[in-house]
Symmetry: C2
Subunit: 305 residues, 2 copies
């Protein structure tokens, strides 16, 4: 097979040695070298504009990321070519680590103790235990399931919302968004970005949360209505927000988010795809293609992810 | 039974309603009211000096804390009266939460991203996964065992040192301190303070750790030789230190620790005793005493805890 690597964000030099080892019989090309258009599989993550037009033989578009809104939203996406999401076990593990870190930072008031340290003040906040808190997860797919298990291991109560009914052990699962938000001391967004999830964290949802909670957005910037979030922080309804993703990235230097005392900004690092843990998943899909089998984790275009 | 509550740190008003409910047939007194010296059980945590001399009928000294170095070190401690440590499930849970929070803060570079946010810099550090790291626990008692299980649930590798041989599932346990320290990317002190553990984290131990690691001290201030720790931070051998406990508390306003860029200071809040979760344990020991049985979790004076 001829495999094209085309991304404005991922670096082929980190991927090619591992890909070539996993798929020794295949040939790899890095955009803009398209082998004269003779390409079977495109590996993409924020792909160059117009790239699909010259690839008439394309059989599979394999994303290098879990989020595929850039691919699904490309008006030039060829029809009839399956698009596969990447479910990278390393990325899933990293996401769990980040969510736990941010939940604990809020839950045990470490954000507050940093201010006390800065002020050289020895002062205690009331101690809550994980078992006193309910963490609400928006999205109960691969990420939500893994994050829920880690939160449960720390004795947090977990509630979760998903579009389709789900069952997870010891997790309050619901398809009723408000029912989940009303009981969530911390709200964690793990959703794919679609027309239905854009702006899902807005003033209405924030007003339903118990006071003094936090919002953790590790999905996509457009899930959160930023003016609504800042209003909830400024009114004291919300204690803290942890934002890893933004509508414009890098976050512009003049954004008020950088210096807002209630906001932790991280540079889209909650969970990076790990070449070492994901190459096996990519190779699996390419081997399936070679055997004439349907690829795994293909996008449902009606759902948008 | 007549039960005396005597602590310069814990407030009787948080304890008495719960104690009276758990032990309805007993009478409670708050220091300095010693019922004319007619006291069967003393509940203590940093007790007032000289308090034991007037309590001739004392049958049990029940600590309100897990750490008992203030009791063991009191030269006026009556001989022959058992001293019991408090193993509070809430305090154990809280400790696990804090250690996980600090480990993740170091492991995923959140301490670094806070500086980047302050500087309005969008920059990424290399992503490591929990499975790339080994967390070393000094102390494998109730706290160490619970912390180890939570770290394992997050996929960290765990090594642990204890004075006596221990076996914990999927944890590298050793009684050889250097063997544990050499493999510990992060070193967590959970030890009781005794003559043998004082100053255990010193320049020799810090030099054995892999570079760029961190030290988390949630036990007692005297476990760490502070000048050695600061030297390891300043040389770049150590990336970060999380200190919750200090030889003098509150930490004096002129301590260099408050403003050291490599140090996170918290005001001894890693794990507070929770009256609601510990009253059952205290009541259990008092009921044992009433039935003429030996109390649980008594101090081994030869070991010092």
């Amino acid at each position: 097979m001829n495999i094209l690597f085309a991304s404005t964000k991922e670096q082929p030099e980190f991927w090619f040695p591992l890909l070539q080892k996993a798929l020794p019989q295949d040939r790899f090309f890095a955009w803009p070298d398209t082998n004269g258009g003779d390409i079977d599989v495109a590996l993409v993550a924020t792909h160059p504009g117009g790239m699909f037009s010259g690839l008439a033989r394309l059989k599979l578009i394999q994303s290098l990321w879990m989020g595929v809104e850039n691919i699904v939203g490309d008006p030039e996406l060829p029809r009839g070519v399956p698009v596969a999401r990447l479910i990278d076990p390393g990325m899933v593990a990293a996401m769990g680590e980040t969510v736990i870190a941010q939940v604990l930072d809020w839950h045990r008031h470490f954000w507050c103790y940093r201010q006390f340290q800065h002020d050289r003040v020895w002062k205690r906040r009331r101690q809550y235990l994980a078992s006193d808190r309910t963490i609400g997860l928006l999205g109960l797919g691969e990420l939500g399931g893994s994050v829920a298990a880690k939160l449960r291991a720390l004795e947090f109560n977990v509630a979760g919302w998903s579009r389709r009914p789900k069952k997870l052990e010891a997790v309050f699962c619901s398809t009723d968004l408000e029912q989940v938000v009303r009981r969530s001391d911390a709200l964690v967004c793990l959703l794919p970005l679609t027309g239905k999830t854009q702006g899902i964290i807005n003033s209405r949802m924030l007003s339903l949360m118990p006071k003094d909670g936090c919002v953790i957005n590790v999905a996509r910037g457009a899930h959160v209505v930023i003016p609504d979030l800042l209003a909830a922080l400024d009114s004291g309804q919300l204690a803290r927000a942890y934002l890893d993703v933004f509508e414009t990235e890098p976050l512009p230097a003049d954004s008020p988010l950088w210096s807002h005392p209630g906001v932790t900004v991280t540079p889209h690092i909650a969970a990076l795809t790990e070449p070492r843990t994901s190459v096996g998943k990519i190779a699996q899909n390419i081997e399936r293609l070679r055997r004439g089998e349907a690829p795994l984790n293909t996008v449902d275009f009606a759902a948008g992810y």
